[in-house]
Subunit: 253 residues, 6 copies
């Protein structure tokens, strides 16, 4: 069996997609195929609520077109834009990279922290943890202050400062697990792990591994309740694939 | 002084816009002008996470085009799609109709309940209360089970059953305030209030009145923190007005 | 239509009543009449639980006498002494100045802070937010340490330090809205708003505007549940107006 | 050593004082003297927020006069009116009867319930548990619907129905401890305990025993923080003993 | 690469070990070896706090002896006895079967429920969810009332009633995911999944899959904080392997 | 009447038992006999989850043998290992020393803090407060960093630094009550109380006094629910007394 896992970048920057897909492929099992995808519309790098709201739509737009034929989908921007809607829309498992990191953190300690590139990302990630109901164990969010324009190059330039931020959340806030948040720094956690005295997690890696686990568990898709396929409904102004999804009949295929 | 308040319907159905605007005009002060707007894209009636995620983008798309010249904006679908992004985007006060109803309920009692048309709306409204941090006093959500296709006609057909649902949440759950949730039943709360032994609220009315209060208070827009105007950023595939907002320079005008 | 809004100072100091009423009149709509009232008994300036408990009674005592003929009442000490009892007692809307500020803060951001004059006020305001169920978004309370004897003159003398405290809660705690707490500094928020990079709120202004909104919404008073008029009951040692309220028959007039 | 414990009834009904004092004396240690007191002003039987707010003042008024010479004070109405203010005011331990019952319940199980005489008392007791921060383990409040005028005679007439209510909270809500709430039924828990398959508690008994334990532990009174003696302050309209307390100098004697 | 995953039954019944190992082997990847283990001391089937406390020790006792040479360990009793201690003790990933089911449920919906064999198990599982900080989304625990003596045979006899319990938590409590709790019914979820309209989970399957994911992620063991290897310490009365672990020097090997 | 209270040290160090028993005897009433006991197996001084899990079993092992004939039992290690299991096992009141200190703190203020000897103890005590549902008012845990090997001598050597830590939690975190946590420093709170401006508590003293109160209240043991005597069950590898308890018939004697 080969699993096909879609890794969808909710922002429009192909370079970030490439960075994340490279890390996804490194971590994936031998029998997993990583299928890359990038949002059709939106902004260069999602950092605030406006961009995240646009991305929520862009994620659904992309999944309607590209998820068919895949066994699971990873929403690969750290604040998980649109991820609950995507879980409702698709019958395959969908997981966000922050959600995956949070859940993995729960297995490795009782207090976790997030380090990230900018203060606004810090706010977004915190609100993301709240939305997942996984903020009860989040003891700190520690942002750097990288200018948004430099974010795609951040991995090379900020490694040292991110490591320092990790030590800070461990020493001052008692973090027992640290998450390095943000797609552009995918893989950094792996390369600096030896410098940090607690487990350090990367959302993309966690998401790929959890997606594999979910594919193999093969839970039955919901046919009742708020994650079941909703009834068809007239729509307007949507791209063809998403429109087709919204307007077709309500039965699970 | 005349206040101009934009009442934006996040779904594409003009009939619902009309219902809500009629109620908004009835409740507004004499010196308030209600400016109607309807989403350019999306679905007929938002009821689930997929439609709400699309609407989040549609709200920003519409506000970018239509908010200039207004003094406040009301996001007029009960689950408040995109409302936090809209608050971040605009320098004028923005309020959702559920948010407005929840806040008003807090002033009138210590336990509130929501009655609504369908179970999926019930889930959405509950998650909306959680997102606002106002679910601590929400003691019940009581949905009817109206088929989504009948929702725009629900106001005429379901009044009696909604009143019964109100009595149920009062008697069984100790609700001290009841909110009638959903744009298509805007105004119903007013017409049945005499049959219900606690205050009963309508989101549109509450939102118009709170929007007036906020306009008059004239709080200074944030220039720091996560609700400040973010820096300009390259984008792709957005409608002209929203693209202009995203890409222009970051200073508050 | 003219609305009559009672602004009741729960402590016995007329000078503070005058300060608050001046601000209330400045912010009120043209068709709103502000009716001042001051507690008959109690202390000079409420700062602790003993004084607040006395004030809870004093608020009811004053409202029983002075609320008739008014359309809404504002309980104008920041910790909202007796405000839930007052809501239960009166059929007109009642709002506390802290409650009003907290609710307004919820519409303008997701994390709010309070700055105030003394540490004990800080404790009281925090407990007040908890009692309203609105502390989930309260990220900091930052008191100065003004001697209680100087409090009525604080507005002139402490403006600079309060502004610094505002910057501190924004920079260190991520506050997105700041409330300046305390009746004696009513109006200060307005005069320093331009120096503070997020919205800054004053309880009296917020309360007057919300009271107007509630008057106009005209919710039906509760006739069932814990905010309905309780049955008449024998009493002892109360002032005539309050005794009359407690002992008369239980029907809403 | 003889301990003197003041048992203060916050409402004006001497018959209820007598019922509670009888139970207090039955449970107290041999070397404990129970000193009865009754509020000077207020209502016959506290059941709602208005009466509780008046009682908050009445409690302080009575304690200022009668606590001197006692080693601890019990505030003996189930909703604990004024109890935090009383703790702040006095240097001896003060405990409320609901607080005492809640804390005892925490030692005997992980889920407790309250049965009581009327729905409004049920609301008050729940809010009381919230105020103490002890509602996290409160799984049910189950009121009967006794007319307030019959409350002082309730102990004789409602025993059977209260026992049934106990069984209901055990069977339906998983209560592992049950509290019988309300001064007029003090002692009932003891007489029906053999009919109820989990521990059943009475607030007066719990309070007397905890008060004895606190007297013997002899914690030092706070001289800093929000429970320290506040500075003297001018007052107006208070009874002599309370006025003397408020206006004298701020040092702990 | 072959992963060796220890599946440790914390109670002493080999038949339950066999049931769980059979399910573990069915679900495991081809390159995973399942290593069975059974507690040396304790009771037949853990159902209450006494048995769980004994099992907490028994888990550490067994792991000290049998974990060496394994790549991960699964604590395979639904209440996860000793699982946090085991995470602290071992440098390999350790996961409990309830923890695994809860975390998986978080990825598949926003409200989950547990069905189980007896009321006491229901209490234990709820407390387990609280201990993991994963009870925020737990909407119901629905126990049957199977006599403890029949528990090892429960899988054959209670399937029908468990399916009914699943429908009940879906219909009445809005569960979007259901967990079938308890080692003796391992595998049942798989065989009845087609009868239940939402995803239904089995702790053993979830734990094996998550354990594989954690082995592959290979997080660095903590060397600081509360999950790091503690310093050696004198002990008394422990079995040789556990004694050796406790008394040896504190550095991670 | 003479009450016999068992004071059980869950670790194997007789010197710590002696320290605690000395303090227990000093605080106990004249008619209370303190019965000392020490765990048969475990480690020198419990400081982490592994040792606490072993101690959970050791507590039950010791209680099964030594509780008969006693009227109450105190589990005398600050993290309360096995205390809920012990409450389930015995028909006499059981109380942990941390639980006793937390509950006493609730009566004396609204914000409490814990100072203790090592960071790992700090984590354990915090998790203990969470398990009791009494962490809502815990504002700080402030550990020193004493090497575990010095802990039994800590009382002499660290008094000064613990007093400083008390001042720190009062000044920086607003603690209104401070608990000195840890068996080896039992009694220290009493000797330094005059140097600390808020009440300072010692777990052993609080536990002895609360145990006396519970003995005198004489609540009926549960015969239903999760704290009732469970049915007998086959066991393996337990010490004779504990085995006898587990395997005998399920009726309360």
């Amino acid at each position: 069996m080969t699993r096909r896992i879609l890794v969808l970048n909710p922002n429009v920057t192909e370079a970030i997609t490439a960075t994340m897909v490279e890390e996804a492929r490194r971590v994936a099992s031998a029998d997993t195929e990583i299928v890359p995808a990038t949002a059709r519309f939106g902004t260069q790098y999602i950092e605030n609520r406006v961009e995240a709201a646009i991305a929520g739509h862009a994620v659904l737009d992309a999944l309607a077109e590209q998820a068919p034929g895949c066994d699971a989908a990873v929403v690969a921007a750290f604040g998980d834009p649109g991820v609950f809607a995507a879980k409702e829309m698709l019958e395959i498992p969908v997981i966000g990279i922050s959600e995956a990191a949070f859940l993995t953190a729960y297995t490795l300690g009782r207090r976790y922290a997030v380090v990230c590139l900018t203060p606004r990302l810090g706010v977004w990630y915190r609100e993301c943890a709240e939305e997942h109901g996984l903020d009860g164990r989040l003891v700190a969010v520690r942002p750097l202050d990288v200018p948004p324009s430099d974010i795609t190059a951040a991995k090379q330039q900020t490694g040292r400062r991110l490591v320092e931020a990790c030590h800070e959340v461990i020493d001052r806030h008692g973090a027992e697990v640290v998450i390095m948040g943000g797609g552009p720094i995918a893989g950094l956690a792996r390369t600096v792990a030896h410098e940090i005295p607690v487990p350090v997690l990367d959302g993309v890696s966690c998401a790929v591994r959890l997606a594999e686990a979910l594919v193999d568990l093969a839970p039955r898709p919901a046919t009742r309740g708020s994650f079941a396929r909703p009834p068809a409904k007239p729509s307007q102004g949507l791209a063809p694939a998403l429109q087709a999804w919204v307007e077709r009949s309500g039965e699970r295929r």
